[in-house]
């Protein structure tokens, strides 16, 4: 086992894992506010990437304005989704709401397919294309960007939840909706905010990935799956667990492809996920919640 290869596997695992982690973060934020798994989360990631390509390419906006606009639009889509499809069915069966989110994801995918086409697109990298070389492994600048921005998003969320009144209100909602309502927090607004934030986080993920992994109207499905897996692995409801879960799955896949078999790399990651789940159902970083009888 040579160091260079191992390091290379680690780097590529962390890069891909950040994708999963960012998607998982979005899942967690909405789950905490609503107890619903939003299957349209992957579509937010897709929208971020596709819209950035669209604004940059068709309108010649320059990369950064295009990115900002893409993130803003996706956030708006998140808010609309909450207003139009989630709020009217408040209090409905969780499974029904999940099906609605599946419907929304199919809908978004369909719209993007018709208006932006079925092709795959690439976004230009932010800065620099020349790969850096160290210890027998290489890393492209965009990978560093991805890791960095993932960390920043995590840090930003942490500050938001711990230090702002909105963040605290959202946390309160996640613990006990009725009580939050009683102390004057508008649960509706918090739910909407959670959709906005997770759409934003998702689209940021989509934007920073598009230069490396390319993007097309249907990338959301796979990202959604892996993101959901990361959430569960990290412990559902715990944002930092979710991000860590994403990194772990990414690294597992990459080492699986490197040392076991590239054909079975996904299976390898999922087998480990199942084993962990069977032995620690609450996930790696989740606390076993004590059920009240």
């Amino acid at each position: 086992m040579d160091l260079g290869s191992a390091l290379q596997y680690l780097i590529s695992g962390l890069t891909v894992g950040s994708t999963y982690g960012l998607t998982a973060l979005g899942f967690t934020i909405i789950f905490n506010a609503t107890r619903v798994i939003n299957f349209a989360q992957g579509e937010f990631v897709m929208l971020g990437g596709m819209l950035a390509v669209f604004f940059a390419g068709f309108f010649n906006f320059g990369l950064f304005p295009a990115i900002v606009l893409a993130v803003a639009c996706t956030t708006l889509v998140g808010v609309c989704m909450e207003r139009v499809a989630i709020r009217p069915v408040q209090g409905a069966n969780v499974i029904n709401i999940i099906i609605i989110t599946i419907g929304v994801s199919i809908f978004i995918r369909g719209v993007v397919m018709i208006f932006l086409g079925k092709d795959t697109f690439a976004l230009p990298p932010f800065f620099g294309t020349e790969a850096l070389y160290f210890l027998g492994a290489t890393i492209i600048p965009q990978s560093i960007w991805i890791l960095l921005i993932t960390m920043l998003v995590l840090l930003g969320l942490r500050t938001f939840f711990n230090n702002t009144i909105f963040g605290k209100a959202m946390l309160a909602c996640s613990f006990e909706q009725k009580a939050a309502h009683l102390v004057g927090i508008s649960v509706d607004r918090m739910v909407m905010l959670s959709f906005a934030i997770s759409a934003m986080v998702g689209s940021i993920g989509g934007v920073i990935l598009a230069p490396v992994t390319l993007t097309s109207y249907d990338v959301g499905i796979m990202l959604g799956l892996k993101g959901f897996a990361s959430c569960i692995l990290g412990g559902l409801g715990n944002p930092f667990g979710a991000a860590a879960g994403g990194l772990i799955i990414g690294v597992l896949e990459s080492f699986g492809a490197g040392y076991v078999s590239s054909a079975f790399k996904d299976a390898f990651a999922f087998i480990i996920l199942l084993v962990i789940l069977f032995f620690k159902p609450s996930g790696i970083f989740g606390r076993a919640d004590i059920e009240r009888v």
Partner: protein, 380 residues
């Protein structure tokens, strides 16, 4: 009340009578994957067929009859392809059919057409479709065997011996992998690494790192967009200077756009459609290709891809067969399809026979290299 009853009765009568054979039209069915994962193949195919229907009818149809092409989208799903096949055979009662887009869907619907004794011309590459030969089944794309032969001949000429392959885990990649595994040893080369990646994977550095550790002379990648573009980018990122061959599955401008600078120097077998402007003027395909390209791009406002050409060839072969036999009976179409010789299509020059229902060989490909973001023919 009575009126509405009457209306319903009439409606029912229309429904029951169905669309019977209309004597003055020739009905050709088509099943394409216009949406879903294979839509990048299916969409140009569908467009081409729509365009051909208009062109042929404007030119007076076939045998003076109007041509109607009934196209169904199977969404790249096997079940839907089978249902669409059923619908073409039983409801639309087509005289011949084109499809499916992917090898898997073609394999799934073949038996329906054989049973119904209606000729089917597939737009999918897999050799299994025409080998062993089924009397009712034909196909237009070059076989993977031809592409692999072209690549391996080129590699041998360069003196490469140790070959690594990386293939996608879908029908296309699997078919390529089978031929590669068969032909590499047969041609006296050694396969040192056999890697797989998933159709939606976004990072293949692990596989490439493994390949690098085996020290091959050349890498052959078999897949369709976007995977190969990611592999080309990962190769650049890893600073791997081992020559990389791509399959004909990425023969579109889109691939060069996606791979960007990473595409420079890549080698691949191409149908002449992709390099039409570079082929000699006296080549029999030249004029036809240029016409097809300009017609297509004028009408759909998107760049042409070689996949649309598969549909062009399929439709025009059927037309040729009908005109040869002066009959649009399914049985006659089949018999004449088998007899077509020297037919110039977009994919090459077709020479059909009862033993060969594809009619192409490896000369239907040229070897090309990507240079300055464009194709360059390296061996004709």
């Amino acid at each position: 009340m009575k009126k509405s009853l009457l209306a319903m009765a009439v409606l029912l009568a229309i429904l029951i009578s169905g669309q019977a054979y209309a004597g003055d039209t020739i009905r050709i069915g088509a099943i394409a994957s216009v949406t879903g994962p294979a839509s990048f193949l299916g969409e140009p195919e569908r467009n081409t067929l729509v365009m051909l229907q208009d062109q042929i009818n404007e030119a007076g149809g076939i045998l003076g009859k109007n041509l109607e092409i009934i196209i169904y989208d199977d969404e790249t799903e096997v079940n839907k392809a089978v249902l669409a096949a059923d619908r073409l055979i039983r409801r639309d009662r087509v005289q011949a059919a084109i499809g499916g887009t992917t090898s898997g869907n073609t394999l799934a619907i073949m038996s329906n057409f054989t049973r119904a004794e209606i000729p089917l011309v597939s737009m999918a590459a897999a050799e299994r479709i025409v080998n062993p030969v089924d009397p009712w089944i034909f196909k237009t794309p070059q076989s993977d065997r031809h592409a692999v032969t072209r690549i391996l001949n080129h590699a041998k000429d360069q003196g490469y011996e140790r070959i690594a392959i990386i293939t996608v885990s879908d029908g296309f990649g699997q078919a390529g992998r089978e031929v590669l595994r068969e032909l590499i040893p047969e041609m006296g080369l050694t396969m040192v690494s056999d890697e797989i990646y998933g159709p939606r994977d976004t990072d293949m550095t692990s596989q490439l790192t493994r390949i690098r550790n085996q020290n091959p002379d050349a890498i052959i990648c078999w897949g369709t967009n976007p995977g190969p573009a990611v592999i080309a980018r990962n190769r650049q990122q890893l600073r791997l200077d081992i020559p990389l061959y791509m399959s004909h599955g990425v023969a579109s401008r889109r691939f060069i756009e996606l791979a960007g600078t990473a595409a420079e120097g890549l080698l691949l077998p191409l149908g002449r459609l992709s390099v039409a402007e570079h082929i000699p003027d006296d080549h029999p395909q030249k004029e036809l290709l240029l016409n097809y390209i300009s017609d297509y791009e004028a009408r759909f406002n998107t760049p042409v891809s070689s996949f649309g050409g598969y549909a062009w060839d399929a439709m025009m072969l059927i037309k040729e067969a009908i005109e040869m036999g002066q009959s649009a009976e399914p049985k006659d179409i089949r018999d004449n399809l088998e007899k077509i010789q020297g037919f110039v299509g977009t994919g090459g020059i077709f020479n059909m026979s009862p033993e060969d229902h594809n009619g192409l060989d490896e000369t239907s490909f040229v070897m090309a290299m990507i240079e300055d973001q464009d194709w360059k023919i390296v061996s004709e």
